[in-house]
């Protein structure tokens, strides 16, 4: 079966069995190893990516449902040289310990901040309720997401200023 989807801005044609989890396609076919295999049951959140702007658990998502959809992985948020605001905030706040959960955390955060530029503490926690961290860096992760919200807001303010100036 051939599935056409957009991954991090690039149109892709994927030849895969339709039941293949999106996660396997990303990691196996496309060598995008940011999203992690954690539990394989949609319980831990380490495989989180964005599909059409929403946080989705890629281990639970058969690729047959991806026809025509747009997928963003953590690789799509920025580069090592030029990290995106969520990535920059996680680095600044040193939010990773072992780091296994972090790509999923960042994607959930990105999806949240795209919809809600200024989330309350409760809204951040609500969004993260399906992302687990076994190291216990939750407080830094929360701080990083608050910081990411600031960075995104100042970036969009700068953009607005640049546009008018």
């Amino acid at each position: 079966m051939t599935i056409r989807m957009n991954v991090n801005g690039t149109a892709r044609e994927i030849a895969a069995d339709p039941e293949t989890p999106l996660l396997y396609v990303l990691r196996g076919e496309l060598q995008l190893n940011g999203a992690k295999y954690g539990c394989g049951l949609g319980q831990c959140g380490s495989c989180t990516v964005m599909v059409d702007g929403e946080a989705v658990l890629s281990c639970m998502t058969p690729v047959l449902l991806m026809e025509g959809r747009s997928v963003t992985t953590v690789e799509g948020l920025g580069t090592i040289e030029k990290p995106g605001p969520v990535q920059a905030a996680f680095i600044e706040m040193q939010a990773a310990q072992c780091g296994y959960c972090i790509p999923g955390m960042m994607m959930t955060a990105q999806a949240l901040l795209q919809k809600n530029a200024n989330p309350s503490e409760a809204e951040i926690r609500e969004a993260l309720n399906t992302n687990l961290c076994r190291c216990g860096t939750h407080m830094r992760i929360l701080a990083a997401i608050r910081r990411a919200a600031e960075l995104m807001q100042s970036a969009s303010a700068a953009e607005t200023a640049g546009g008018t100036g």
Partner: protein, 460 residues
């Protein structure tokens, strides 16, 4: 002259009627009382258990806000009723209520000042609560933390916003009085009936309501609706594929799940969360009563239930843990819903691991066998959010993955494969309305009452 005298008579009759109605509806205020200094701790403890039976916290608390401070909006066909502050705050709560005022509210549906209470407060059930139990409830509530919180006014349409009219409603539909033991039944059954029909007010959700919002007693326990969820029939028409036993029901009410019946969710999760505080004998009594209401079952139905259980592998214990790799995902299918089911659902729901941490095999699922698919629409779109800091059942939300047509295809396939009931109609539209929030659904974690948030995923 004749016209004038006829008019005069009409006016007189009207005046007398209105005055009579006022006199009928009028209730005196019960004087305010300074808060009682202390209560017997045993009484308070018993009151805590009774408050759990009554599930008071669910309606009288906005999720994530202060307990018993009220303000939760209850959508009714007549408008919105906001729950009252029943914390012992002296100005905005019930801090100045005497026990007599509390007893009257429970037994007669009248507040301290003499206002008729809207039957969103289920005094049609609470009237059965004994004075001794009310005394314990009063002691419990009066020893909670007072919360100063002025609750906003109800938003009811005319004429429902005229409180006096509630007196007329009561005249028609409200039978005050204690629970009378059924002499044909034993003490356990009667204890269960007292709890379930009284403080537990099961029928408030599980009995359908007629046009004026009263429970339709001719269809007792025939199934109702609450906060966007179907409260299944719990009488002879229970759609459970495997008939409930007292043992299974007791387990479910205590733990919030049963391995061949599934997980309690929606508003029922709050109920089972609270009932966990009860002593075993009270839980067993409620289960005894409710299961007896479901009637006896034909040999054929029991045989079918046994086959379903064997077939579903619900009893298989050889699988140590849920694992997405045990059931090979396959999209081989003759219809789109089957492909989605096989590739997205089967790995958990046919893993052989029972609830709470494995998915229920749908052959055993009440949701798939229910006349209305609303509950499974809700769970498919919004999932089961996890509890905070404790092990709980979860299910990932699929709203971002499946479009309305795909959810409808999936559920139609599951209905066809796992139920002998006729197909559901207009699934796509029902999914669309649920997703858009046109049909309002409340999604909360199992432990969500005090923690909040008010709603997860679903449109506010």
């Amino acid at each position: 002259m004749r016209v004038r005298s006829v008019l005069l008579v009409v006016v007189l009759v009207l005046v007398v009627a209105v005055a009579g109605a006022f006199a009928y509806a009028w209730r005196s205020a019960i004087p305010e009382q300074a808060p009682q200094a202390s209560f017997d701790s045993r009484l308070v403890k018993r009151g805590a258990q009774l408050a759990a039976v009554g599930n008071c916290i669910s309606c009288h608390t906005v999720p994530g806000q202060q307990v018993f401070a009220g303000g939760l909006p209850l959508a009714t066909p007549f408008g919105i009723v906001y729950s009252t502050n029943i914390s012992p705050d002296q100005d905005t709560g019930i801090g100045r209520w005497s026990e007599a005022a509390f007893q009257r509210a429970m037994h007669k549906g009248v507040d301290r000042e003499g206002n008729h209470l809207y039957p969103a407060f289920p005094y049609d059930h609470f009237t059965h609560v004994t004075s001794e139990d009310n005394q314990a409830l009063y002691a419990y509530l009066m020893t909670r933390r007072p919360v100063r919180h002025e609750v906003q006014s109800n938003q009811l349409r005319f004429p429902y916003n005229i409180r006096m009219l509630v007196a007329g409603w009561k005249l028609l539909f409200f039978k005050a009085g204690p629970y009378a033991n059924d002499q044909q039944q034993d003490a356990v059954w009667n204890r269960g009936a007292y709890l379930a029909e009284g403080l537990g007010h099961c029928g408030a959700c599980h009995t359908p309501r007629q046009n004026l919002g009263a429970e339709d007693n001719s269809r007792h326990f025939a199934g109702g609706e609450a906060e966007g969820w179907q409260a299944y029939a719990i009488n002879e028409s229970s759609p459970a594929p495997v008939p409930w036993t007292v043992e299974a029901m007791s387990f479910y009410l205590r733990h919030g799940y049963h391995e061949i019946h599934g997980i309690s969710r929606g508003p029922m999760a709050e109920v089972t969360g609270n009932l966990g505080f009860l002593p075993d004998e009270d839980i067993e009594a409620i289960a005894t009563y409710v299961v007896s209401r479901m009637g006896t079952h034909s040999a054929e139905r029991i045989k079918r239930a046994e086959e379903l259980q064997a077939d579903a592998g619900g009893q298989v214990r050889s699988v140590p843990a849920a694992d997405s790799q045990i059931v090979k995902a396959s999209a081989a299918a003759s219809q789109p819903g089957e492909a989605i089911y096989n590739s997205a659902c089967a790995s958990c729901h046919e893993s052989g691991r029972p609830p709470p941490f494995g998915g229920l095999h749908f052959q055993l699922s009440t949701a798939v066998n229910a006349p209305n698919p609303q509950n499974i629409v809700n769970v498919t779109l919004f999932g089961l959010p996890p509890a905070d800091g404790e092990a709980s059942s979860i299910m990932p939300a699929y709203h971002a993955i499946l479009n309305d047509q795909q959810v409808a295809d999936l559920l139609a396939y599951m209905r066809q494969r796992f139920s002998k009931s006729p197909p559901w109609q207009n699934l796509v539209e029902q999914v669309r309305q649920t997703r858009s929030g046109e049909y309002r659904v409340t999604i909360r974690p199992a432990d969500g009452i005090e923690r909040g948030p008010a709603n997860i995923g679903a449109k506010k």
